[in-house]
């Protein structure tokens, strides 16, 4: 029980529950299966990118270019599928290939030239996005391949009919959850996963123990690219339009969600479950605002406050724990008072 309260995830969960209660008390439509499934669908795009960001943050890096990578992967893949045809499987394959390659470029630059990741990825973001605009001239694609349309409508389960339309678990939600599980297993049960934590904890120690830090870094950024690419396709599935500028600008939202979920910008810390909760917290706050009939001018203020409150609360808690654990060591002399007394009296 005590251990549970040392975990960041617990606090995020508590905050989520708190918000849910408040929102539900204003609008009963919040706590419905339908709304939950709608949120899980809408935020699967953010959630998938968050998985990639989590990896990068754990490794002690940061990536700003992922939205640009997602856009390129989305755009180029749709172009390819439109031209040569193919199924969703080919679409995902192409996207992953493009995303991983662009991500790996980030990783290589960061590792080979030791440029700080934030500078590298800001630069590549400009290059990637700039090239896309140069090549496409900002043209939008309205007519997606047929497979995108039919695939997006797949859903599992049918939970009752409301206003004539059934709702279920959308295919994009399923993709997101599969990726969450895969990422959790990778982080927890593979050497590669643990090496990411090791590199994020102490790069020099990781090198001394025998991890190839360069490879880990390249992997992490390539993985980020892969997640961004999948998210890009999911975005195309969600809105059925591909615009070169529709994703760029969402980077900070995603990073904020991951940090909300307990990852540290200093590296070495973070879990997949926490990240999921972080995304959901953000989703619920943004969703709840309209449901609670809050005027739109207040949206940004509330989102900012929630980020500050939940991150601040958890790190304050941690700081307190750290200082109290210090005193634990000092107090480790059992029954300190008694024996000292006897000694003084003698």
């Amino acid at each position: 029980m005590r251990k549970l309260f040392q975990r960041h995830e617990t606090y995020v969960l508590v905050i989520i529950l708190l918000f849910s209660v408040i929102i539900t008390s204003v609008n009963h439509n919040f706590l419905t299966l339908e709304n939950a499934l709608d949120l899980l669908k809408s935020y699967s795009f953010t959630g998938i990118m968050a998985i990639g960001v989590l990896f990068v943050l754990i490794s002690g890096g940061i990536d700003i270019s992922f939205a640009a990578v997602a856009t390129i992967a989305e755009y180029v893949t749709v172009l390819i599928v439109l031209r040569i045809g193919g199924s969703m499987i080919t679409a995902f394959a192409f996207a992953v290939l493009i995303g991983a390659a662009l991500g790996a470029v980030n990783g290589l630059l960061i590792y080979r030239f030791k440029i700080p990741p934030i500078i590298t990825t800001i630069a590549t973001m400009n290059v990637y996005y700039g090239l896309l605009i140069v090549i496409t001239r900002g043209k939008w694609i309205y007519a997606l391949p047929d497979c995108f349309r039919s695939f997006a409508e797949i859903r599992v389960g049918s939970f009752g009919v409301q206003d004539g339309s059934a709702f279920g678990v959308s295919v994009v939600t399923i993709i997101w959850f599969l990726l969450l599980i895969a990422a959790a297993v990778l982080l927890r049960y593979t050497r590669l996963g643990r090496s990411i934590y090791a590199v994020g904890g102490d790069k020099i120690s990781a090198e001394r123990v025998g991890f190839r830090v360069g490879r880990v870094q390249v992997f992490v950024y390539a993985f980020m690219g892969t997640m961004a690419a999948i998210a890009g396709i999911v975005q195309a599935l969600l809105v059925q339009t591909v615009a070169p500028n529709s994703i760029v600008g969402k980077e900070l939202d995603v990073i904020a969600a991951v940090v909300l979920g307990g990852a540290s910008l200093a590296g070495g810390v973070g879990t997949v479950f926490g990240t999921f909760l972080g995304v959901m917290l953000l989703a619920i706050v943004q969703n709840g605002m309209t449901l609670m009939k809050v005027s739109a001018v207040w949206y940004d203020v509330f989102v900012g406050l929630v980020v500050i409150l939940s991150v601040g609360f958890s790190s304050y808690k941690q700081k307190k724990q750290q200082s109290s654990s210090k005193i634990d060591i000092r107090e480790s002399a059992p029954s300190a008072g008694v024996s000292a007394d006897t000694l003084q009296e003698s």
Binding site: T190, G201, R208, V209, F211, R330, A333, P334, A340, L343
Partner: protein, 507 residues
């Protein structure tokens, strides 16, 4: 495996004609070095003597210049790289321990095994077994799921040793393992090393702290300025001799005897100061010109007491008087305004801004006193003040604009001192001021402290090292479990007696 290991007299590692040059500076000059199987060996030398370079060559991190001959277990080993060294069973525990602060004890211990295992999959059950086995080997028990960043330094050290032991280690190299440990913890560590010897594992200590190493080492190799001075059986060495070999001079501890002027009010007077869980009923006084030493085990409450005086750990009850006036100090700002200065133990993290220049660090605490009429910083006054303190404290720097992190440990500590002396304090509290720095630097820091006291400042030195407080202070207080157990006049005390009080009813 056992059969391959020879008797205790066969050499495990032998190195000859080791030369190494760094951009013009000769770090090692034709050094010869050997270590026997299962031997406990000590490599001694001051900072910059080349001992770290030699360790880097043994561990394969750096390669020696051409002409070097290295043999391991009787076979020529050629040039070693890090993987070769690890394959030969050489494990280094660096001073920073190379642990992962964000991971659990269990994972840290099992990390080497994880790296070299053939499968990509991590078995937490196996990791658990490995960690428990490694801890059993040296008879310690640390909670396996604890995060390393929450452990004490001593426990971290043990975790690092456990990790090294998860491999088929033949030679364990420990770089300055005892600096962050208390006497009791050092003893525990040394008994672990003796245990390892019985298992045929050789240990090489790198150290400049003499006593504890002498207890267990069989031979001591001394380096000075990149040259090997000699290799001596430890039975032939005493403190004075090894110090002479290391520095080329002998320091004479001149005990500090003053009869402080007790006619006026003491600078600091504590009466029945208590803090729940930290210390109880502390009464003591410090007169101008006095140096009062406080010693005791880690956890005896000495650091907590110092923090309380400095406003970082407000006490629950009792009174504090400065110059005879009762005061309440709840914040550092109040403490500073009452003329109290505090130099923390961990100088590297707490005392300095490592990336900033020496000059900026020195004037950091007094900038607000150096303003022109228009509230801008008076650059000329700042420069004068920096020059003065660098000169008075003999800080060796190429320029006052060099970053503090480029300085040696002793010079860094002197920068910390300068920073606080610049505030012209009435009471100066030093927590373990000479941890991790070599003899020469240590002596000169003690000189600075005595000089300061002679000018009428009251000084409190907190130290684990009995010799340090005994020879630098005129009074020594022993703390034990939050109480002041005994007070000594240092001219009438000896180390053994103080040690007895420190450890009496020790846990």
């Amino acid at each position: 495996m056992k059969s391959k290991r020879g008797s205790m007299d066969t050499l495990f590692l032998s190195m000859r004609h080791i030369n190494k040059q760094y951009t013009g500076v000769k770090a090692l000059d034709d050094v010869e070095f050997s270590i026997r199987e299962g031997e406990i060996h000590c490599l001694a030398g001051t900072n910059g003597s080349g001992k770290s370079t030699l360790v880097k060559i043994i561990s394969g991190v750096e390669q020696p210049e051409a002409g070097a001959q290295i043999e391991i277990a009787g076979e020529p080993a050629g040039q070693l790289n890090s993987m070769d060294s690890i394959r030969h069973g050489i494990e280094v525990i660096y001073q920073d321990l190379s642990l992962f602060p964000n991971l659990s004890v269990q994972e840290n211990i099992a990390m080497s095994e994880l790296v070299s295992s053939k499968t990509q999959w991590v078995s937490w059950k196996k990791a658990h077994t490995i960690a428990v086995e490694a801890m059993d080997k040296i008879g310690v028990s640390i909670p396996l799921d604890q995060t390393v960043s929450r452990l004490s330094m001593a426990d971290r050290q043990l975790v690092a040793i456990c990790r090294a032991l998860t491999k088929d280690v033949r030679l364990l190299i420990m770089d300055e393992p005892t600096t962050a440990l208390t006497k009791k913890e050092v003893d525990a560590l040394l008994s672990v090393v003796v245990d390892l010897k019985k298992k045929g594992i050789a240990t090489l200590f790198i150290s400049h702290k003499l006593n504890e190493v002498m207890q267990v080492a069989e031979r001591v190799t001394v380096l000075r300025d990149g040259v090997k001075i000699g290799c001596y059986p430890s039975s032939e060495l005493d403190d004075k001799k090894i110090e002479y070999y290391m520095t080329g001079t002998t320091t004479v501890y001149t005990p500090y005897h003053v009869m402080p002027d007790t006619s006026g009010a003491p600078v600091l007077e504590l009466d029945g100061l208590s803090k729940e869980g930290n210390f109880k009923d502390i009464s003591m006084s410090v007169y101008p010109g006095e140096i009062v030493g406080i010693t005791g085990l880690l956890g005896s409450g000495r650091t907590e007491l110092a923090l309380s005086i400095f406003g970082l750990n407000p006490p629950d009850e009792g009174t504090m008087r400065i110059d005879g006036e009762p005061v309440v100090i709840d914040t550092v700002k109040q403490a500073v305004s009452h003329g109290i200065a505090y130099v923390p133990e961990n100088r590297l993290v707490e005392g300095l801004v490592l990336d900033q220049s020496v000059g900026k660090n020195v004037v950091m605490t007094v900038l607000d006193r150096m303003l022109t009429a228009s509230k801008c910083i008076d650059v000329q006054q700042v420069d004068r003040s920096i020059a003065r303190w660098v000169r008075e404290l003999k800080i060796k720097v190429p320029s006052v604009d060099s970053a503090v992190k480029t300085l040696s440990g002793g010079n860094q500590q002197r920068v910390v001192l300068a920073k606080w002396i610049a505030t012209e304090p009435k009471l100066f509290i030093l927590d373990n001021p000479t941890v991790g720095i070599d003899i020469a630097a240590k002596t000169s820091i003690h000189e600075v402290i005595k000089h300061l006291a002679a000018e009428g400042v009251g000084v409190i030195i907190i130290s684990d090292e009995i010799a340090e407080v005994l020879y630098t202070c005129n009074r020594v207080l022993v703390m034990n479990r939050g109480r002041i157990l005994k007070q000594f006049i240092s001219s009438e005390a000896n180390e053994e007696e103080i040690q007895r009080y420190i450890e009496s009813h020790a846990v």
